[in-house]
Symmetry: C2
């Protein structure tokens, strides 16, 4: 189908009538800023063959695209507002693919109180490439950054770590021995890979509590390194404290927690905030676990239960370009 028919039939409904989107007919969106709020903007790109498989369900793919961006907003403590989508598609993409993609995006935009405000659709001689720009609001001056961690702060994570990596291994059929023994969790792990859960409800409550925050996309240790670099500190993580959803041998656990794509929040907070953190966990129903502490040196180290350093050769994922 041609791009205009596609936009009118499948994308225009995703504006939910918000006037800022100008019905997707004006090549731009216009909005008046909300008084008292700062604007947070993030932009992620995902490409067939790199971030997803050619035959992945377009309904879930749309959700993942939105959610990885909303996860970045959550890490800033922001509430989602609107988004801009660029779809770069192979020529003659089947209409069913387009329909399912739009349906997934619509359901999630609606679920996260967000709307489509603009973007671009084009064809090319290659696989599907998707980029999304998400805007959110945070109370003026209250955004969470990566740069505020201080020596002595605790290091916390939401949810469980490594599920998405394990789910991906299951999909690739390169199953870890330990997983083979617990087939019941397959569909859960795979769903964690396909449809991450941005921790917006936690993120929006961390202002004034957390000293720094990020989401985990590259891998727990790599993203903690980002916090440490931005904050000029180091950290010690206790491997046996990192919450996993299935028990794994040490070597497998290290692979899982450095695999990335978790989209859980990783944050630091001083000891006197631990009660607030428990309260946030209770209110949101999302597990929050203390996994280590910030140190005064510049290294991120992983410790076993005897307090010995576990050597890690690859802290997370880096694209080679």
């Amino acid at each position: 189908m041609d791009e205009f028919s596609f936009i009118e039939k499948y994308l225009a409904p995703l504006t939910f009538g918000n006037p800022e989107a100008l019905s997707l007919k004006d090549d731009a969106a216009i909005f008046s800023p909300k008084s008292g709020y700062d604007i947070v903007i993030t932009k992620d790109a995902i490409a067939e063959g790199t971030h997803f498989f050619k035959n992945d369900d377009p309904y879930k793919l749309a959700k993942k695209l939105l959610r990885v961006n909303l996860s970045d907003l959550a890490a800033k403590g922001a509430i989602p507002y609107c988004c801009f989508l660029a779809l770069i598609l192979p020529e003659n993409t089947p209409e069913e693919w387009l329909e399912q993609f739009a349906a997934g995006l619509k359901d999630d935009l609606s679920g996260f109180s967000c709307f489509l405000a603009g973007g671009d659709t084009t064809a090319h001689n290659g696989g599907v490439v998707l980029t999304l720009t998400a805007l959110g609001h945070v109370t003026a001056g209250k955004a969470l950054l990566r740069s505020g961690a201080r020596a002595g702060d605790g290091v916390f994570v939401t949810g469980t770590i490594g599920d998405s990596y394990l789910g991906l291994q299951l999909i690739k059929n390169q199953e870890l021995k330990t997983i083979e023994e617990s087939r019941g969790s397959d569909s859960y792990l795979i769903s964690r890979y396909h449809v991450p859960q941005p921790r917006i409800s936690v993120g929006t409550k961390l202002s004034g509590v957390a000293t720094s925050c990020t989401d985990i996309s590259d891998g727990l240790l790599a993203d903690l390194e980002n916090i440490c670099n931005c904050s000029q500190v180091g950290a010690e993580i206790m491997l046996d404290k990192v919450p996993l959803s299935i028990s794994l041998a040490e070597a497998d656990a290290i692979k899982a927690i450095t695999g990335g794509d978790d989209y859980e929040l990783l944050f630091t907070a001083p000891e006197n905030m631990e009660r607030n953190i428990n309260d946030i966990s209770e209110k949101t129903g999302i597990k929050i676990t203390k996994i280590g502490k910030i140190t005064g040196d510049n290294a991120v180290t992983l410790l076993n239960k005897n307090g010995e350093i576990i050597p890690v050769f690859r802290s997370g994922y880096r694209h080679k370009i």
Copy 2:
């Protein structure tokens, strides 16, 4: 090289130290809205093989990517503020390509008083795909839209139309006979294809003057159809009034003016604004030409100098997806 080294070495300098960009280390940008202004956001995608050639100069490519977005801001009357870049690159892209791309973007960001605030870089198994999201500011409530044209308004364009199409034909070596006779203009036409000129200085002066505005990306008639559809009107364009930079036979002129990629402004304004439009043209040094008028019916028609309708079978470019 890996994505982090690339970002630090080549992209971080494009923030020009603006704190909103958080040094590109935080996966998001945060900014406080400017009081009294609305925010305009646009997002365009360009792909190798569809919008540019594999061996196109990356320095110029970066400029074109930015400029096609700034052209959308210009059409809204907005002043550029910042942008977000997604680079989806083939694996092992040569560092020289990256360096030249960043250099082109830096020069143009600087020239247009804009900065890089964030984005994403990734590799994939395919050609170069680029998406850019640009933000601009416009006085609250004063953005130009496509929806305000009224019967009786004049239709105006900036600059000359068709240059980019002709430049592309020259590049493709499918040269029109008329162009072959005027080789002197080759490099000018080709440069118009590679590096369009967003008409920001005109756009920012059209508020209160123009009743509707767009930039010309799909083609003069197609973009005029967009205005007419949004405004529920029609239009008549006189072919011999459309400003060309070289003289062309009628059939060639029609191809040129419907070829798209002009990135000139196309706007409508009532007769009593013609003096203001002349003033804007004088102040900015940019030619503005009246090429027709808005009518009460729903059709866009092209007329020859005898006032006869010229049938046009393809008003502009539509991507098939």
